[in-house]
Symmetry: C2
Subunit: 351 residues, 2 copies
């Protein structure tokens, strides 16, 4: 079934492509169902309204257009948008000024990775006028790079864990009084040597056991560290998700309806669900239109995400969430450009 449909669709003749294109673009622009008359007036298609009507009827039969009600114009269906995105949409390139501004705003704020994520969310949302979703790497996958101790007071130390995602975790732990700064450095070295390269979740009992015997005289400190590590791991990475421009959702006329709005805002607030939604994509760049999103609450939204990564395996996604009636080509251009920038940033600032 689906394949046949896909085949049929691919065979669209030039005129159908033209009409579909015009409908999608007009609807994206105006957010009102578009009729044959308006279409023929607004665009120079070289065919009469009646012919457009016929074509539209065909496109509707193929499932690319829909009618809200019998005597309204046509609206693109999810599959219609999909076809538009895959086959019809003209590529767009951002003008140099925009590019420069994005780059400037992204880099100037970010001296550290989590700041970069925050800045990305802001920049993305402002450049597209949609809501931005930025996903940091999963902490559980993170690999321990270094563990150090900083003496704070006689009986408190700061445990600093640096992982390979450039992120730094820290925790204040109790320390047996009298431990010296030199000792802390040494202990840090030993612990680092033992745990380095292990994922947070893969710190094995055996590695710990060995550590315990090696650091027998600093047992208390070690146990406190292990406990802190566990806490760090368990802390659900709220910071994993950065949002920007959530209020842009309100700008869309289709969400004037409080019902729909409420549904969407519920989704936004359940950060875990939002993470799942944004993480769902597997490919480098993913466009998900309406019901292509798993989450029911996003059935009237479109999501464009792109993966960023570093050689060391830092992996996350950035993207924008907007109405199905999204300016796909511009949003796509922005998202992919920001994706590049982040990749560059990661490469440059690799440890």
């Amino acid at each position: 079934m689906l394949r046949q449909g896909a085949l049929m669709v691919r065979q669209l003749d030039e005129r159908k492509r033209l009409v579909l294109s015009a409908v999608v673009e007009d609807y994206i622009e105006t957010c009102t169902p578009v009729g044959s008359r308006t279409l023929s007036k607004r665009y120079n298609l070289g065919i009469s309204p009646a012919t457009i009507r016929n074509e539209m009827a065909d496109l509707e039969e193929m499932g690319l257009l829909e009618q809200p009600h019998t005597s309204a114009g046509r609206v693109p269906s999810d599959r219609g948008y999909r076809y538009y995105v895959d086959e019809l949409m003209p590529k767009v390139t951002l003008d140099p000024q925009t590019l420069a501004e994005i780059q400037y705003r992204l880099y100037v704020k970010a001296t550290q990775f989590d700041q970069l994520l925050q800045a990305t969310a802001r920049v993305l949302s402002e450049a597209t006028d949609y809501m931005a979703v930025v996903l940091g790497p999963e902490v559980e996958d993170a690999v321990i790079e270094r563990i150090s101790y900083v003496k704070l007071t006689e009986d408190k130390a700061l445990l600093v864990v640096v992982n390979d995602t450039c992120l730094i975790h820290e925790a204040i732990i109790d320390m047996p009084p009298g431990t010296t700064a030199q000792q802390l450095v040494m202990i840090g070295e030993i612990v680092t040597k033992a745990l380095r390269g292990l994922a947070f979740s893969k710190v094995s009992a055996r590695a710990l056991q060995m550590l315990r015997s090696e650091l027998n005289e600093h047992r208390d400190l070690l146990e406190a560290s292990i406990e802190a590590l566990h806490t760090l791991m368990e802390t659900p990475g709220y910071e994993r998700l950065a949002l920007g421009g959530a209020s842009n959702i309100l700008k869309q006329p289709e969400f004037r309806d409080t019902e729909k709005l409420q549904l969407i805002l519920k989704l936004i607030e359940r950060r875990a669900d939002l993470i799942r939604l944004a993480a769902a994509g597997e490919g480098e760049v993913v466009v998900r239109i309406g019901t292509e999103n798993r989450d029911q609450r996003a059935r009237e939204l479109s999501l464009i995400t792109a993966e960023y990564s570093s050689k060391r395996g830092i992996v996350g996604r950035i993207g924008v969430l907007g109405p199905r009636r999204m300016k796909y080509n511009k949003a796509l251009a922005v998202v992919t450009y920001v994706q590049e920038l982040i990749n560059d940033w990661l490469e440059k600032s690799a440890l």
Copy 2:
């Protein structure tokens, strides 16, 4: 003028107090203008609707009630709410179970101060059903407690700044290759000795000059540190503000209107403005009703904030932002209880 008004109002006789009380409480409950008939039915005031009407007319003249339009019921004015809060509102004490749950949820999550702030925002919003606003201490006022370096790679070090507000700042800085971990500890000691006790903003040129001569051979590292310190200072403390339950705003029927909603969301999104709004209170516990808030965008909101502090001078505010039609007594009880908890936490976990 104002004083006379205040005097007049203070002289309200028992019956007017009763009527005002009933109007405010009914409106808080129902969010519909309350009329004399409904009032006499719903509450047992012992007077007829006609009498209530007379009293209401008086209260309106005094500026404590308002009429949306000629033939609607009455709605409390800002001054009406104010009188209610100051004079009429019955004190409320939270039941032990709620208290216990708040305490549990607050402490279990927080091993560090910024986590505590996050947790506070969540707990506050869930306990009150309003949006929570939690303000951390101002970084600029923070006093440097300790500066340490952690060697990351051959040419990168982590600069860790611990301030007296329990907050930890860190930045990755370049380091001349070959610097040893031992050296870093030593440098950290020297820098700490020089800058400890100084506010971020008060790091004087002289102190730096002395440091420069003392650490002549590690000049590059020092300069990188100084630059990083500046950046830390300048970073507008986004993390200074923790929000919770922003979508609770949507639950309020008075904000069903997209216009009003948009205004409020704009405010929420401008974090700097929100900080200003929340920081505005000077007293221990502050209730600001509607137009008592400076910010125009908050003219239909009420804000309850409370100051928390530690002996070491950590100062911030926590609070809730909701509709003017707020359950002031319960919200107040929650806010002050959480305030206590935070004060306790700070005392216990002082360095």
